[in-house]
């Protein structure tokens, strides 16, 4: 085999959506890579300009459909800042609880599909079994499995129900996590495929604006949860690894599931022991928003998501801008892939946890 161009995607079994990679390969070695995005562009930002604030609310869940609560949170918080609204204590705890559950669900899905990319079939079904528990719970409280539309301006739609069911779910997941570790962490094939592949050092990651678990696996402790107001009440550690390779990213994500479970335990305790309002009772239809600008950010499973809204005082946003973590993770692909083998593409690309609807918006 001599030098050739290999077109990977946009329809390919393991690009998890529609990423196109134009690879310059010599045999199995990758000499260059160009990434093409935009196949899933839905005009999420432009769409907002023709909608009222309330109409846009259900669509933001679809920006990253695996972590809908986070997008909702960013948008809702930005609007609340424009309205100069403070939300009740209970509402913010419910939001934290649901977001952390969502983080676990998202990481479980990542683990399953990543192992599927590496050629192991079984973990996919195991992680989906556990993720199902969380999705069933979400369905119970919001009526939806993925597009929740549960956060509203000034709180949450309904008071949270079935709080007692959360503890057993999270306990099961954390127990099963040890099973996954038995299957994977010491597995020589898994280690040989992930250790020392796709090494991303700290300076490079910061230069490319990588955030989230990908950055924390590269010896950084940057987690926007630690600066966030609503996480102040909770005690948790920031998962971190030093190596910056695929294995480190795997370890960070597993560790994050464990830390999220701790936050959930604390949140459930607070919710069970205290009552209070879950909503400010604001009428969301006729929002009286003055001209101005506000932004809110949130640490999603895939990095920092920021929603920036500019209002001109009318009923619709003048401009909405989203910043999502996966977009930056795609940008670093050529750097990580060049020099590796074709069989490393999926090991590296999968480990970055790129979510294409979030990239293209």
């Amino acid at each position: 085999m001599s030098r050739m161009k290999l077109n990977l995607g946009p329809q390919h079994p393991s690009t998890h959506g529609v990423l196109r990679l134009i690879l310059d390969v010599d045999g199995e070695k990758i000499l260059g890579c160009e990434q093409v995005i935009g196949y899933l562009h839905r005009g999420m930002e432009k769409m907002a300009e023709g909608m009222t604030y309330l109409q846009y609310l259900p669509t933001v869940d679809r920006i990253d459909y695996l972590s809908g609560f986070f997008n909702s949170y960013a948008y809702v918080t930005a609007v609340e800042k424009l309205l100069k609204l403070t939300i009740p204590e209970r509402a913010s705890i419910i939001r934290v609880l649901l977001m952390e559950l969502n983080r676990i669900a998202s990481h479980l899905l990542w683990l399953g599909t990543y192992l599927l990319d590496l050629g192991a079939v079984s973990p996919f079904f195991y992680t989906f079994r556990e993720r199902e528990l969380i999705l069933n719970y979400f369905e119970k409280i919001s009526g939806q499995r993925m597009m929740y539309n549960y956060f509203v301006f000034g709180g949450v739609r309904h008071d949270i129900e079935y709080v007692n069911e959360i503890m057993p779910i999270v306990k099961t997941i954390v127990e099963k996590l040890d099973d996954y570790e038995k299957l994977l962490t010491d597995n020589p094939i898994f280690i040989s495929r992930t250790k020392n592949t796709g090494v991303l050092d700290r300076e490079e990651a910061l230069a490319y604006s990588i955030t989230g678990p990908n950055l924390r696996a590269s010896n950084s402790h940057l987690d926007f949860r630690s600066q966030s107001e609503i996480y102040k009440k909770f005690e948790f550690k920031i998962a971190k690894a030093e190596a910056g390779d695929c294995f480190a990213r795997y370890k960070v994500r597993l560790e994050e599931i464990r830390e999220s479970s701790k936050i959930i335990y604390q949140a459930v305790d607070i919710l069970l022991s205290s009552g209070g309002e879950y909503n400010t009772g604001l009428n969301p239809v006729n929002l009286n928003i003055e001209a101005g600008e506000a932004f809110a950010d949130v640490e999603t499973p895939r990095g920092l998501t920021t929603c920036c809204i500019k209002s001109d005082g009318s009923g619709t946003p003048y401009r909405v801008k989203w910043r999502t973590g996966s977009f930056y993770a795609v940008q670093i692909l050529p750097k990580l892939l060049t020099g590796n083998m074709i069989s490393d593409i999926m090991a590296i690309y999968g480990s970055l946890d790129v979510m294409l609807p979030e990239v293209d918006r």
Binding site: L6, G27, G119, A120, V121, S122, I189, R193, M341, S343
Partner: protein, 364 residues
């Protein structure tokens, strides 16, 4: 075999067929049985794999077609038969059609070489071990041609991987087999089987002296079969479907049948080499214990031998499926490294151990 032949002639004479016809038909019968057996085996092996994988991954597997999904693969095969055979426009049409056949035809021969019991041993030539090795390599040529003729980049990468893998894993297998040949002083599969017989059942099975050889052969055969964790030529997450990307319909089905029948044949090959082939694991045969030394017992022994042979093979096949459910795929460069730096030296060590054992055994 003589009384079976006589019985067959009598049966034909009863219906007024000439004796000459029996002379022609009789030698063909075992091959017909074999072809039928191959078809049934492949259909149910695919189903078994899907079922076992299903239960290992918290699912039920196929359970809609027929009783508990028993007819699932039959339905799938029928669907593949009905599908259109698509040839890509840039493909080499002749080779593209020929490749599945090249892969499939040796498989029939491979099945004929294996000794299923003391009598049903169709191609018992003095050196059929070497013939087996040669034929077991042939499907890779079909894969290579198919990938090449497809004129697709994914197919070409897949087929190059297949050929690299086959070449590097053929050597450890050959070196490990040398150990067996030394131990049994024969190149004939039946003789190798009989060399493992003892009244103590598994006491003289070659897995005990040649344990390292067994490990090497087991790993290499999984690699040769392109099965997980060595399924690089058809790695679906990287190469879509590898060498078979452009194949559809019956041509694809032929590759599929080749894969699964080679899986059975190679599992049976491991059984012959290391687990005493058709020999009973308890030393004596159950039919001899019940019926004594009568004609009934003599006939039943053959069935019993086939039963043991299949049972041992199924255990190996189950291990193959279990491994597929457990491990991720290897990288292509590490795959070759494993073969040349670990398995090949191990197989040479195994050869020396076998020679030492043989020398000590001969001296005693």
């Amino acid at each position: 075999m003589n009384y079976l032949y006589c019985a067959f002639i009598e049966l034909l004479a009863k219906y007024n067929f000439p004796e000459g016809l029996a002379l022609i038909i009789f030698p063909l019968l075992p091959f017909c049985i074999l072809a039928l057996g191959l078809l049934i085996m492949v259909l149910f092996l695919v189903l078994a794999e899907r079922k076992i994988l299903g239960y290992l991954t918290q699912r039920k597997g196929p359970n809609r077609v027929g009783y508990r999904g028993l007819m699932q693969t039959v339905a799938d095969a029928f669907k593949l038969l009905c599908k259109e055979n698509i040839t890509p426009s840039g493909a080499d049409k002749f080779l593209f059609t020929l490749a599945p056949l090249i892969a499939f035809i040796p498989v029939m021969l491979v099945w004929g070489i294996l000794p299923y019991n003391a009598e049903f041993d169709l191609m018992s030539t003095p050196a059929n071990l070497i013939f087996y090795l040669f034929l077991a390599f042939m499907p890779v040529l079909g894969i290579f041609l198919g990938g090449w003729a497809s004129n697709s980049k994914y197919s070409i990468i897949g087929c190059v991987r297949a050929i690299a893998q086959a070449i590097s894993y053929e050597l450890p297998i050959a070196f490990s087999l040398l150990g067996i040949v030394v131990l049994s002083s024969s190149l004939n599969l039946s003789q190798i089987t009989l060399a493992q017989s003892s009244v103590w059942g598994p006491a003289k099975w070659f897995i005990i002296p040649a344990f390292i050889g067994f490990i090497v052969v087991f790993i290499s055969i999984i690699a040769e079969l392109n099965r997980c964790p060595f399924d690089l030529p058809e790695a679906e997450s990287e190469l879509v479907a590898g060498y078979s990307t452009e194949y559809s319909g019956m041509r694809f089905a032929l590759f599929y049948i080749t894969e699964y029948s080679m899986m059975f044949a190679n599992a049976a090959f491991i059984v012959v080499l290391f687990f005493g082939g058709y020999l009973s694991p308890f030393g004596g045969y159950l039919s001899n214990i019940i019926f004594g030394d009568s004609l009934t017992a003599n006939i039943l022994v053959y069935f019993e031998q086939t039963f043991w042979f299949l049972l041992k093979t199924f255990v190996i096949l189950f291990l193959f499926i279990l491994i597929r459910a457990t491990y991720p795929r290897l990288q292509s460069d590490k795959l070759l490294k494993l073969s040349w730096t670990i398995l090949l030296p191990l197989s040479i060590i195994n050869l020396f151990i076998c020679m030492l054992i043989k020398a000590i055994g001969g001296a005693m």
